[in-house]
């Protein structure tokens, strides 16, 4: 296999830890400690967190867990201020393009699903990239690529085995839907007055799991994530969020796709264990980048360490389009994704 092997080259481009990321680590406090321990012949102690200096140089999911440990206890007022700033940025933004027939969105997610079996509850995480095209008449297309299931811990896998190893979706699913088969939510009808909006969102909460404030917080995330709300609605959503009791500022953080943002979180009790919901915003544009959930305590329904992320959805694309034609296939004609070779333009 030569260095120019396109497959190896493609894999190399996806290196999760390029050297640039660890540059200078050899003189970090952690390195100095390792050097001193080594020459003193000291047994290496188990350390559970990275030094801050190193953590700052890491990207994406790698950093998410570390950043999370450093969550601040700053007052909710600060989170409220951040969200009010977001509201101001959102209000000054451009109106979304509504020319296309379909709302196209793409998300990258790790979905948590929990099953309550007689032998004990277990959880599994499914990585999934999903594209949806939905028209106001409820027609459209949903295409998803699902990866291998991830068991958070050995107990989950054992219980899954005891439950008879039920299968999970895997690979590509691509379905088109005729009018009425999908539900198109018309967000343009939502009120843009914050207190009216809160009343509407609150009324949509069906039960108490998660609690109402958290459910509203999640609803706000779902609407912002679609990317087609008007500037006035976006601003109102941020104002509603800024008034929710229990919001906490997380500060600068990095979303699961490695994008820099600022985070606001809330926590709630989920079947005996607390879970933290984190929303990551782009503080320049006010766009919602991702929604993540972290387990805060050991739980009976998932075998994961406290502090670990148990699910996320990252919003990676949203636009209006005229057809449900595969956007990526159009681009594939000019760039073969796995060969990395330029093949000329379409229609040549």
């Amino acid at each position: 296999v030569s260095e120019r092997d396109p497959l190896i080259q493609k894999l190399a481009e996806m290196n999760p830890v390029p050297l640039a990321l660890v540059e200078g680590a050899s003189t970090s406090p952690a390195a100095n400690r390792a050097l001193a321990d080594a020459v003193a012949g000291r047994r290496v102690p188990r350390r559970r967190t990275l030094t801050v200096a190193l953590a700052c140089t890491l990207v994406g999911a790698l950093a998410a867990a570390v950043t999370f440990v450093a969550l601040s206890d700053r007052s909710p007022a600060t989170a409220a201020e951040l969200l009010k700033e977001m509201a101001a940025i959102a209000a000054a933004g451009d109106a979304p393009d509504i020319s296309g027939r379909y709302l196209y969105t793409r998300t990258v997610a790790e979905q948590l699903s929990t099953s309550d079996e007689e032998g004990g509850a277990w959880s599994v995480i499914l990585p999934i990239v999903e594209e949806t095209w939905i028209a106001p008449d409820g027609s459209g297309r949903i295409r998803s690529v699902t990866g291998q299931p991830i068991f958070p811990g050995p107990r989950d896998e054992d219980r899954w085995e005891r439950a008879g190893e039920p299968g999970f979706p895997f690979g590509v699913a691509d379905n088109t839907f005729t009018a009425g088969m999908l539900t198109y939510e018309d967000v343009s009808s939502l009120p843009t007055d914050p207190s009216e909006l809160l009343a509407v969102l609150g009324a949509q909460v069906i039960d108490d799991d998660p609690p109402r404030d958290v459910a509203v917080f999640l609803r706000i995330g779902a609407i912002l994530g679609r990317g087609d709300a008007s500037p006035q609605l976006r601003a109102a959503l941020y104002r509603v969020a800024s008034e929710l009791p229990g919001i906490e500022l997380v500060g600068e953080t990095i979303d699961p796709l490695g994008r820099q943002g600022v985070g606001v979180s809330m926590w709630y009790g989920a079947a005996g264990a607390n879970v933290r919901v984190l929303m990551v915003f782009d503080d320049q544009t006010s766009a919602l980048l991702a929604q993540e959930q972290f387990l805060l305590q050991r739980a009976s329904w998932i075998d994961a360490e406290p502090g670990s992320r148990v699910s996320f959805v990252a919003f990676s694309a949203s636009q209006r389009v005229m057809t449900t034609i595969d956007l990526s296939s159009v681009r594939l004609s000019s760039a073969n994704p796995l060969g990395g070779v330029f093949h000329g333009t379409r229609g040549r």
Partner: protein, 179 residues
């Protein structure tokens, strides 16, 4: 070597290789464990300083690799570790593809990598991520350059097959064949 000379030489080795050994560990495990693995690797390096070859990286990687294998046996499941690895698998360099498309590519690549056996995945990572040639990669896993080349070839073929299996069929694929 006198003690001070040994310490100075070791520090030169340490400072000139630490970044790479850390990167090697971070590519294979989570950050908190990676730091421990690297510290343990250099603790071994100090004790065995007299046997470290002039080209120390493959030797250090091999020690880190064994350290990680021991840690894994003592607790965590492979699935958890490869999951972490895959979660990190986001394109890190600029490409002609737009970000969302890169992500789908990454999703396919991560699923394909996950489906491989550990040994296949390691062969590919040593070359693509750690930047080793066949000789150095062979030293890390304890085989000759020729034997490593064979392993890499097989691993590459299996990765390609997994990617093909996972990649959605596009109308344009047909168009490209017609050209």
């Amino acid at each position: 070597l006198p003690k001070d000379d040994k310490r100075d030489s070791f520090e030169v080795l340490f400072r000139s290789t630490y970044d790479r050994v850390l990167a090697y560990a971070l590519r294979r495990t989570d950050p908190s464990e990676a730091e421990d693995v690297v510290a343990e690797t250099y603790a071994v390096a100090w004790r065995r300083f007299d046997v470290i070859p002039p080209e120390p990286l493959p030797w250090l990687y091999a020690v880190a690799r064994r350290t990680m294998a021991n840690t894994r046996r003592s607790g965590r499941r492979r699935a958890e570790l490869t999951a972490k690895l895959a979660a990190q698998l986001v394109p890190s360099t600029a490409s002609e593809l737009d970000p969302s498309e890169q992500l789908e590519e990454a999703a396919i690549m991560q699923a394909a990598l996950r489906a491989l056996k550990d040994s296949d995945r390691e062969s590919l990572m040593l070359v693509a991520w750690d930047g080793l040639d066949n000789h150095a990669a062979g030293l890390v896993i304890g085989v000759s350059a020729a034997a490593f080349a064979v392993r890499l070839h097989r691993a590459r073929r299996r990765l390609e097959a997994e990617i093909q299996r996972l990649t959605p069929k596009q109308k344009d694929d047909v168009g490209m064949e017609e050209r």
